[in-house]
């Protein structure tokens, strides 16, 4: 024990105070730095020569790891909900300001109103032109909605590209910091700084997708998606995304690369293996999940709704129903029907009773002109309980009969071709296992006059819209983007009234027909639009379908907004709690500063006393 011992202990005290001061300076200086976690200092006594001097044992980060983990999870959810709400809000704006002149319902109502005026004054050329211009506005509105919806989809696609680039950056930084941490001694101040940085990158990654982290005893961290795909281990994996320049209604994601026409996210592991994250549904939350949901579901459905309106509107005006004429052949009874007027997409509807089980069954035969479109699915028509069979008409009537017989085979019904393009459907006669109840065909009017009151008012660009199927898929997909008023009708508006030779100019039959179909005609709508289900499709008038759509979209947007707000509250509350422990509190730092100042002064005092004592000793 000696004075020199006291001196060196006081010096160590000064050193620790200085270190503490440096730490306070760092805390205060970084009070505004994002991701900075308040540091505290551990000091220990060194028992050298009996009495202890002091030294800094470690620099600690003041944070609650449990809250940090929870915050990360909720951040993903918050980012997901927030982005989704913002996209929904944009989508809402496409539907217009309620009650203003820019909504779809207003343009639709204007169109039916113009038809009603035409029915009152069929001879008025002004009324005719007004119908056509209202129809054009409506068609253009649907075109515009399609462009806008696809524009939002394109934004989602590019958003995905950005998000993937950001995720790659974060993952690489995490891997880099992991490596650096390996070469730093625990407790060193650099270690704390590196951990701060790494937390920032993990937080950034958590905003993009849902992640889960596992830390080893060397403070190195592995990052997984919550679904268990490893993103960062020793090295970072890499995400790739192949964005498509512009979106079209026909562009869909598919697990089959040949059919896929939008970008997909692939994970390329450090060892070179790759994996499609969308196909594996690996990303369940965060901005990327929100963008995927928008691009592949919400906006696709919004487009499908517009397509359904366009298709229903077009076909309501142009489709006519033809009933079969009853025939008998010996004991067999059935119906004749002329299929010469059927266009691709038109149907023959068979209704029969299976007398063994006494059940009513429906078969819908759909004309296709391209064998590549076959086979069709039962969900290709809106009616719920029918079996849908595509019949390729390109091979002539004999081939049609053969195909239908093959399709009807098990039912006991038979088809023949008595003459021309007439088909004769007969039951099994004396066998009495099956009774044919009704037979009808749906035919699309393709001409302006001479084809009855039905009118192809709307066209698919230059072609008549018949809802056909081809190898490229259904004609309905994206029809809202192509719908246009028949140019032949624009050239001769009188055809809105005159539907055949000798029809006087004042005949309101056709305007009344058009008006009725658009306002009260009952139609089935395919469940792809998100309204109704396959088993119970939505059946109603066009205005009620329109109401359902806008209502459903508004509901979804409001729900998204509510979810986002709720999630924001959760994230904020967690952030608050995290900040309580991790944030720099300047007041606290100042108080510590006073303490350190005192300690420093005290140590210095010890040194000066030791000096005085040594001086006294030397003066002896």
């Amino acid at each position: 024990m000696s004075l020199s011992q006291a001196l060196s202990t006081a010096v160590s005290g000064l050193r620790v105070s200085q270190a503490g001061l440096a730490l306070i300076a760092a805390n205060v200086a970084n009070a505004e730095t994002p991701g900075y976690v308040r540091k505290s200092l551990d000091q220990t006594t060194i028992a050298a020569g009996g009495l202890g001097s002091v030294r800094v044992s470690a620099i600690n980060r003041e944070l609650d790891q449990y809250i940090q983990r929870q915050l990360r999870t909720e951040t993903s959810g918050g980012a997901y909900a927030d982005l989704r709400a913002r996209f929904y809000e944009r989508l809402q704006q496409l539907y217009g300001d309620p009650g203003s002149a820019t909504t779809l319902e207003t343009t639709y109502n204007n169109f039916t109103g113009a038809l009603q005026a035409l029915a009152t004054s069929p001879e008025s050329s002004t009324a005719r032109r007004e119908v056509l211009s209202a129809a054009q506005v409506l068609a253009q509105h649907l075109n515009g909605m399609t462009t806008a919806i696809q524009g939002v989809r394109t934004d989602a696609e590019f958003g995905l590209a950005d998000a993937v680039a950001n995720a790659n950056e974060a993952m690489q930084q995490i891997a880099r910091i992991n490596q650096q941490i390996g070469s730093v001694r625990p407790g060193e101040s650099t270690m704390a700084a590196l951990l701060d940085q790494r937390d920032v990158y993990i937080q950034r990654l958590a905003e993009l997708m849902d992640v889960r982290t596992v830390e080893n005893e060397y403070h190195q961290l592995s990052v997984f998606t919550t679904s268990g795909v490893q993103l960062v281990g020793v090295d970072a994996s890499r995400l790739t995304f192949d964005p498509q320049g512009t979106m079209s209604p026909n562009a869909f994601w598919s697990s089959d690369p040949a059919l896929r026409s939008v970008g997909t996210i692939k994970l390329i592991s450090p060892t070179g293996g790759d994996m499609d994250l969308i196909a594996n549904k690996a990303i369940r939350s965060g901005e990327i999940a929100a963008l995927l949901e928008m691009r592949d579901q919400v906006l696709v459905q919004a487009q499908a709704q517009m397509d359904a309106i366009a298709a229903a509107m077009s076909r309501a005006l142009s489709d006519r129903n033809i009933d079969g004429t009853a025939v008998t052949a010996g004991a067999q009874a059935g119906f004749d029907i002329d299929v010469g007027g059927l266009s691709s997409g038109n149907t023959i509807n068979i209704s029969y009773t299976d007398t063994l089980t006494n059940t009513l069954r429906h078969i819908t035969l759909v004309r296709v002109n391209d064998s590549n479109a076959l086979p069709l699915s039962d969900s290709d028509t809106a009616s719920p309980d029918d079996r849908v069979v595509g019949i390729d008409f390109s091979g002539g009537i004999a081939s049609v009969v053969a195909q239908i017989n093959a399709a009807l085979g098990p039912s006991g019904l038979q088809v023949s071709n008595p003459a021309g393009t007439t088909l004769r459907f007969l039951d099994d006669g004396a066998g009495n296992k099956v009774n044919l109840n009704a037979l009808s065909a749906t035919e699309t009017a393709t001409v302006l006059t001479g084809g009855g009151v039905e009118l192809p008012l709307f066209m698919d660009a230059q072609a008549v819209y018949t809802g056909s199927f081809s190898s490229l898929g259904s004609q309905q997909v994206g029809f809202a983007g192509r719908i246009a008023v028949n140019s032949a009708l624009l050239a001769d508006p009188s055809r809105l009234v005159i539907y055949g030779a000798g029809i006087p100019t004042g005949d309101a039959t056709r305007p009344n027909f058009l008006y009725d179909r658009l306002t009260t005609g009952m139609l089935d709508f395919s469940p792809e639009s998100g309204i109704g289900t396959l088993d119970a499709p939505f059946s109603g008038s066009l205005p009620s379908f329109l109401r359902q759509i806008v209502s459903q979209q508004g509901e979804a947007a409001a729900a998204a907004e509510n979810l986002a707000e709720g999630q924001a509250v959760v994230v904020q509350a967690l952030q608050q709690r995290f900040n309580d422990s991790a944030n720099v509190n300047v007041d606290q730092e100042m108080a510590n500063l006073l303490n350190l100042q005192n300690a420093y002064a005290a140590n210095a005092r010890v040194m000066s006393v030791v000096k005085e004592m040594l001086d006294a000793l030397l003066r002896l």
Binding site: A31, E89, P98, T112, G113, S121, G506, R547, A557, A591
Partner: protein, 501 residues
């Protein structure tokens, strides 16, 4: 809750202030525009209802627009119908009081007046509402009727009413002016009256013969062409005995001719002298018959013929051109032939379908109610009015014709009877009543729509708009909160240890 110092990292308070600010902006927008939201999402649970209500309001609007148009048309139609009715009445009254005093043009003052009234009626039938001819059936864009000049005088190669009356007159009277009857000289005590051709629609048709002539036998009308035989037998008829012949005229009316035997050697009108024996009496009867028939032909037949020509002319439309006398020569014609649009004026130029006139124009005034208000100028009542006035105005007389006054009287009496209301036939007031019932239905619907419209508009308002009081109160509350937050924040920012070291 713990109170934390302010720094940008403790940004939660800032965030909440930003959020309050945003709410304040939105409330301000609501206050300014009075609208709850600019998207359907913001309308809340009633957004679907808002669309339905909008839809209904739009439908009501279009129904009302229809009704407005239709009611103008109906008002105009009622005015026209009322005037036509009163014109018809005037003409009829004037005819009753008319005396036969012709001007140099061969017509009476009443006939001239009828010509003017015809122009008026035709003008009324061509009434338009906007560009729409009201009396054209479905042919709203074509005039309903020809002009009165074309109708009366014809148009170039197309024959008018006057020409057709003249042709028909020639055909009905025949070259001899005997109404196409032949009365050959008596053979012994037997004489006969015969039509000149079987199946001919022209001239007087023998309907019946009755005799009180003592000892005489009358037979017929029989045979083709029809003839009547009068055999006086062996005994001379007694004075005062009579024979009555009934004729059907071309307009469907009948006229009787009664000849009475007289002992006087100079018989008066419709009398014949008894001769020394039956054969001589037969000779006298033949001469008296010839004179009397010629008299009927020149008066009653001529009037009936004009009306028959009028029937043919005015029952025509674009699908059914008028039936004309198959000639020339007309005096010997024995059949009618369908005219063409090229050689005959067709007075009604509107649409002439098989549907009832009313059904040619329908207006939907409610989801399930529609009114029918179509009109055709050739509806029975209108056609009859135009026909009779036109025929009366078309016939002219020559001052040298001894039968002229009698013929005018026959025409006058027939036209006046036709213009009066005939039971079982449509009247102009019937048409007006049907139009009026459409007007009543529309008035009721319009009232209903007004009420519905008001209710729906209220509902719509309650969904899409906000009350300024409510927004004002919200703004006030928010403002208080925001001020308190800002003050507290400022206070916290000042309260830092740094300031006291």
């Amino acid at each position: 809750m713990s109170i934390n110092g302010i720094s940008s990292r403790s940004s939660l308070m800032l965030q909440s202030m930003v959020e309050m600010r945003r709410q304040l902006d939105d409330l301000q927008r609501q206050l300014g525009t009075g609208r709850r939201s600019v998207t359907y999402a913001g309308l809340g649970i009633n957004r679907g209802l808002a669309i339905s209500v909008n839809n209904q309001l739009a439908a009501l609007k279009s129904y009302n627009a229809s009704m407005q148009q239709v009611s103008v048309r109906l008002d105009l139609a009622q005015t026209a119908l009322g005037q036509i009715d009163s014109v018809t009445h005037e003409v009829k009254t004037a005819i009753f009081q008319s005396k036969f005093a012709i001007d140099p043009g061969g017509q009476t003052a009443e006939q001239r007046n009828a010509g003017n009234q015809l122009e008026l009626v035709l003008g009324l039938l061509n009434t338009t509402a906007g560009d729409r001819y009201l009396f054209s059936g479905l042919g709203f864009d074509t005039p309903s009727v020809e002009s009165s000049v074309h109708i009366l005088e014809g148009d170039g190669a197309r024959a008018g009413l006057k020409q057709m009356i003249s042709e028909r007159r020639q055909a009905d009277l025949g070259a001899a002016g005997m109404g196409r009857l032949s009365i050959p000289a008596a053979v012994g005590a037997t004489l006969s009256v015969a039509e000149d051709a079987a199946g001919s629609p022209f001239g007087m048709k023998l309907a019946a013969v009755n005799s009180t002539l003592t000892g005489a036998t009358v037979t017929g009308p029989a045979g083709a062409p029809a003839s009547v035989s009068i055999d006086l037998g062996a005994t001379n008829p007694a004075a005062g005995d009579s024979i009555r012949l009934s004729f059907t005229l071309p307009d469907g009316s009948t006229t009787d001719l009664t000849l009475t035997a007289t002992a006087s050697a100079s018989p008066g009108a419709n009398e014949f002298s008894l001769g020394a024996n039956a054969a001589a009496t037969a000779g006298n009867l033949q001469a008296a018959l010839t004179t009397a028939v010629a008299g009927i032909a020149g008066s009653e037949l001529a009037a009936a013929s004009a009306l028959a020509a009028g029937d043919a002319f005015f029952s025509a439309d674009l699908n059914n051109p008028p039936q004309r006398v198959n000639g020339p020569p007309f005096a010997t014609a024995t059949s009618l032939v369908a005219g063409t649009a090229a050689n005959s004026v067709i007075w009604y130029t509107g649409e002439a379908g098989a549907d009832p006139a009313r059904s040619t124009a329908n207006a939907r005034i409610d989801a399930s109610i529609s009114v029918s208000y179509g009109l055709r100028a050739n509806e029975e009542a209108l056609q009859s009015a135009v026909k009779n006035i036109a025929v009366f105005a078309a016939v002219s007389y020559s001052s040298g014709d001894p039968q002229a006054a009698a013929s005018y009287g026959a025409l006058k009496q027939r036209v006046a009877a036709n213009l009066a209301n005939v039971p079982g036939q449509q009247k102009i007031s019937d048409i007006a009543a049907e139009i009026a019932s459409a007007q009543t239905a529309m008035a009721a619907a319009s009232e209903r729509h007004q009420q519905t419209d008001a209710t729906l508009a209220d509902l719509m308002e309650s969904i899409t708009t906000v009350s300024p009081e409510e927004v004002g109160a919200k703004i006030l509350a928010l403002q208080t909160n925001l001020q308190a937050s800002l003050q507290t924040t400022a206070l916290l920012l000042q309260t830092s240890l740094i300031n006291y070291l």
